[in-house]
């Protein structure tokens, strides 16, 4: 595959900004964990061998306890199964993921009350929340939902923002004027109040939340795209293309948009960070995804209510800060990388 030398140059410049590059690696690693979370953090076993057959319970239907002679028809408790197999000391075995809990189950103990402090013996490496759910599991699965949310938000917001902004800039005139006013009015609707009202009458699912956020978030990109298009439209190469008889569509897609890419790309990381922030804030206020969906906002809420259980608030704050900071660094580096002007800095 041939890579455009300009792109190569941009990547090289991006890589040369170490802060951004390492942040990118960290973020990519986190994404990887989130994608394969089931294999790392799960109450289902990776592998079970009951002496006759191998089982891979992670993906697929539940395997009832009766399958392994545990005498119940609900999902096998693989942690118990592991201890049973270990005690018997035969060739049967269970391999559990690194963190053998999912994000929903309440791991409770007699005589003491959650939240439980971090413990290697219990394999709750960051402790549990106030109803005994594993913190790592809540964090990772919550992160996954957060990222899915902000990526979806990003794609939809940008598609609307770019196409409308481009049209406004390209068509200009009354069309431009009309939409400018519409956007101005639209922007003055108080986003938070509306979302509070909506989510108090309906139960928002992930998609509904995305759509509500898009409803109030699509305007941002239009302004930038509009100015960008205005500027590019007036350039000689566009004039030349028009003189050669290129259609409007061809001019927009082949000439103007590629030149606006650098602008779009620099906005991506900040938009992702914005999405994470928005969902976390909504969940924190209790207007986000319905319980018991794992969520960072809910953890933050729990943390502030249980300051004595310092592991809750500290894990979530560290996680939130790490992700937000790394995204910001990536954004910075991307902007540098795509900046056509070369800045020389002396260190």
């Amino acid at each position: 595959m041939q890579i455009n030398p300009l792109t190569l140059k941009r990547i090289r410049r991006f890589k040369s900004i170490k802060r951004g590059y390492y942040s990118f690696l960290l973020f990519a690693f986190l994404l990887l964990i989130a994608v394969f979370a089931e294999l790392l953090i799960n109450n289902r076993a990776l592998l079970v061998y009951d002496g006759e057959e191998l089982y891979f319970p992670i993906y697929g239907d539940i395997i009832p306890g009766s399958q392994f002679g545990l005498g119940y028809d609900y999902e096998t408790n693989y942690r118990d199964l592991q201890t049973i197999y270990k005690k018997k000391g035969e060739n049967r075995f269970v391999i559990m993921p690194l963190v053998p809990y999912n994000a929903y189950e309440n791991d409770l103990k007699k005589g003491t009350y959650p939240p439980f402090a971090p413990s290697f013996a219990d394999r709750h490496y960051l402790g549990t929340d106030e109803i005994g759910r594993d913190m790592i599991a809540r964090l990772v699965y919550g992160f996954r939902i957060c990222i899915v949310f902000s990526l979806l938000l990003l794609v939809i917001n940008f598609s609307i923002g770019i196409s409308l902004g481009c049209l406004m800039g390209y068509v200009g005139g009354k069309f431009d004027l009309l939409f400018q006013r519409i956007i101005e009015i639209w922007s003055s609707i108080p986003f938070l109040y509306v979302i509070m009202i909506i989510s108090s009458i309906i139960i928002p699912s992930l998609m509904v939340l995305v759509l509500i956020s898009v409803f109030f978030g699509w305007m941002g990109m239009t302004w930038y795209m509009r100015t960008m298009t205005y500027r590019e439209k007036a350039r000689d190469y566009v004039m030349a293309a028009r003189a050669l008889g290129a259609s409007n569509r061809r001019i927009i897609f082949r000439h103007i948009l590629p030149n606006a890419v650098s602008l779009i790309v620099t906005f991506v990381p900040f938009s992702v960070a914005g999405g994470i922030g928005a969902l976390t804030a909504l969940d924190y206020l209790g207007f986000g995804l319905p319980a018991p969906t794992p969520s960072w906002g809910e953890l933050l809420q729990q943390g502030t209510n249980n300051l004595q259980a310092i592991w809750i608030i500290s894990s979530i704050v560290v996680a939130l800060v790490a992700v937000m900071v790394s995204i910001t660094f990536i954004g910075e580096a991307v902007r540098e990388g795509f900046d056509p002007r070369m800045h020389s800095t002396y260190e």
Partner: protein, 598 residues
């Protein structure tokens, strides 16, 4: 001659006038059986001493000192209203009728009229005697449009028919409808006619900050708007030596200071600027008040008092109009799938206990043989198999296209963590719960419109169980009624109608027991938990009777309600000295189980 004739005519006229105009005193019917009650156990302590100040708080300053009308229903209302005694009272432990402003009472045969002999010693704060006219005036007052109190207007028109004066100290109060227990309904309070007079059009404004005379033990003494209100004990209170008032209302002064935040109030308490602090909330009891210094050093005591009062019906209301819950086996299965014990004991620290019955804490009216269905996967399996369901590949019960997945509709954010635990456990039993949290009024509306599958909510209580609104078919499948389970059972209907119409107490009790058994069999309400206690912290110089509160108490310091506590000046002095010198006492937590049930 003419003069004489005129005089005679006049005399005859004067004699006849009252007969026709109704102004004459009505005749007391013969054969009235007067009763009183001087035999009930006393609940105050004979050792109680008078004196001292009780320092309390209010979260906001009242908007008015009126007992009726706009803004009179705030938290300060109880301070005003508890000062207005009624004709008779109810014993807080035995629930017998006790003399209050009336010394004797009698029931009419029509189950509508109750007769009262007023206590001639009763006085208003200003020393004026309380007479029959003050009760007649209550009706006039409460029916007046000028007080701007629609609820009272309606109640004193639609529920109380009239007050009859026989003489200055004998009256009867007549209810519009016949009711089995008149003493719970008709003992009204007098209203000081000499104070209000003709009710002016601008009553609401003119009387907003006026302090009306009352019949209680305290009067409002000093007021600084926005800051505090002080009450003073009436030194020569007319009832202070009456059997059931002796040893109560002991402190000389009660001071309510405005402190707007609970955490600040707690700090004030720890600094000995307030005398007691409520600790019923688990956050305060288990966290904030745990290991507080004043307690560890023994200056402050903690009490955990189990009461036994009507419990709100918190739980799951299964909508029987829903396809799933039409089947009784599925309703039972749902109940057996709720691991309430795990929730109560492993999450809620055993603070709450299981509610077994919708109608708990109603004394003889409660069928205490009923025990809520326990968590049992085996029982769920048996019930589901009986109805022909089987577990699907995800472990959830299925039958054809149907899945045992239930939307649970609730509103309190605080309850999320409770429901989440139940949800995870129900999964084991093969039932999926989808939690839907809506804002309070939308959630309530959904229930009222019967659009819920299962509603997690509770109703507050009354003095006697109310079955008709919750379980009669007249309210089933209709919007805006309290029959959240859509129960419509002809046999139950019959019992409920009988219960409503019956005027015999024993018959009502028997019916009540049977109705509750039937409701248990129907199984459409799954009871959750109850809070059968209150907890409070207080400085050690406060003294109480051996049993420090009553069966229906909500606090140790019901300064205007039961008013049982008093101050021990010697212990106070000793404690204050000890606090200065650093001497400590043994920390003490009193757990009082006299009225504890199961």
């Amino acid at each position: 001659m003419l003069r004489l004739r005129l005089l005679i005519t006049l005399l005859v006229f004067l004699w006849a006038l009252p007969q026709f105009s109704g102004l004459a005193a009505e005749q007391l019917p013969v054969g009235i059986h007067w009763q009183t009650n001087q035999k009930a156990p006393v609940f105050a302590s004979p050792q109680a001493k008078k004196g001292g100040t009780y320092r309390s708080y209010m979260m906001s300053f009242p908007l008015t000192f009126r007992h009726v009308g706009p803004d009179s229903n705030g938290s300060f209302a109880s301070v005003i209203r508890l000062q207005n005694l009624s004709l008779v009272g109810i014993h807080p432990n035995t629930e017998e009728v006790l003399p209050e402003l009336a010394t004797h009472w009698a029931y009419g045969d029509d189950h509508r009229t109750m007769y009262f002999k007023l206590d001639p010693e009763a006085r208003w704060s200003d020393g004026k005697p309380v007479t029959a006219d003050d009760y007649l005036y209550t009706l006039e007052f409460m029916r007046s449009k000028n007080i701007v109190a629609p609820w009272y207007n309606n109640y004193y028109t639609e529920e109380i028919e009239r007050v009859i004066k026989y003489d200055t100290y004998t009256i009867a109060v007549v209810s519009k409808k016949a009711v089995p227990e008149l003493h719970l309904k008709v003992p009204i309070s007098p209203t000081p006619k000499h104070f209000y007079g003709k009710i002016p059009k601008d009553f609401v404004r003119r009387f907003n900050w006026k302090i009306a005379p009352n019949t209680g033990a305290y009067y409002i003494d000093k007021v600084k708007k926005g800051k505090y209100v002080t009450l003073k004990r009436k030194k020569a209170w007319w009832a202070k030596d009456k059997k059931y008032f002796k040893g109560r209302y002991n402190v000389d002064t009660i001071r309510y200071t405005v402190i707007r935040d609970l955490n600040t109030i707690f700090e004030y308490f720890k600094k000995n600027k307030l005398d007691s602090f409520p600790l019923t909330s688990p956050t305060f009891w288990h966290q904030k008040a745990k290991g507080m210094e004043v307690y560890e050093k023994g200056y402050v005591k903690k009490v955990w008092f189990y009461n036994n009062t009507q419990q709100p019906s918190i739980g799951f209301w299964l909508n029987q109009a829903n396809d799933l819950f039409k089947d009784r086996n599925l309703r039972y299965a749902f109940a057996h799938a709720l691991n309430m014990d795990k929730l109560l004991n492993e999450i809620l620290r055993g603070d709450y206990s299981r509610l077994h019955n919708h109608y708990t804490g109603y004394g003889a009216y409660t069928n205490s043989k009923i025990k809520a269905r326990e968590f049992s996967v085996k029982k769920v399996e048996a019930l589901m198999m009986k109805s022909g369901w089987s577990r699907g590949t995800d472990g959830i019960w299925q039958k054809g296209q149907r899945r045992f997945s239930v939307k649970v509709n609730y509103s309190a954010e605080l309850h999320t963590k409770r429901l989440v635990v139940l949800k995870e456990e129900a999964k084991k039993a093969g039932i999926e719960m989808i939690l839907k949290r809506l804002d309070g009024s939308s959630s309530w509306k959904l229930n009222l419109e019967k659009k819920h599958e299962a509603a997690w909510t509770g109703f507050s209580t009354g003095l006697r169980p109310a079955y008709w609104e919750h379980y009669h078919s007249a309210n089933a499948l209709k919007t805006q009624t309290n029959n959240f389970t859509n129960t419509a059972d002809p046999e139950l209907d019959k019992m409920i109608s009988q219960y409503r119409l019956s005027l015999k107490i024993q018959q009502r009790i028997d019916l009540s027991q049977k109705i509750q058994q039937k409701l248990f069999e129907i199984g459409a309400f799954v009871p959750a938990y109850k809070v059968g206690y209150f907890r409070v912290a207080y400085w050690r110089w406060w003294q109480m009777p051996d049993v420090p509160a009553t069966k229906h108490s909500g606090d140790l310091f019901e300064e205007l309600g039961t008013g049982l506590f008093w101050i021990d000046a010697k212990i106070k002095k000793e404690t204050l000295a000890a606090m200065k010198s650093g001497k400590t006492f043994k920390p003490e937590t009193i757990i009082e189980k006299t009225f504890k049930v199961d």
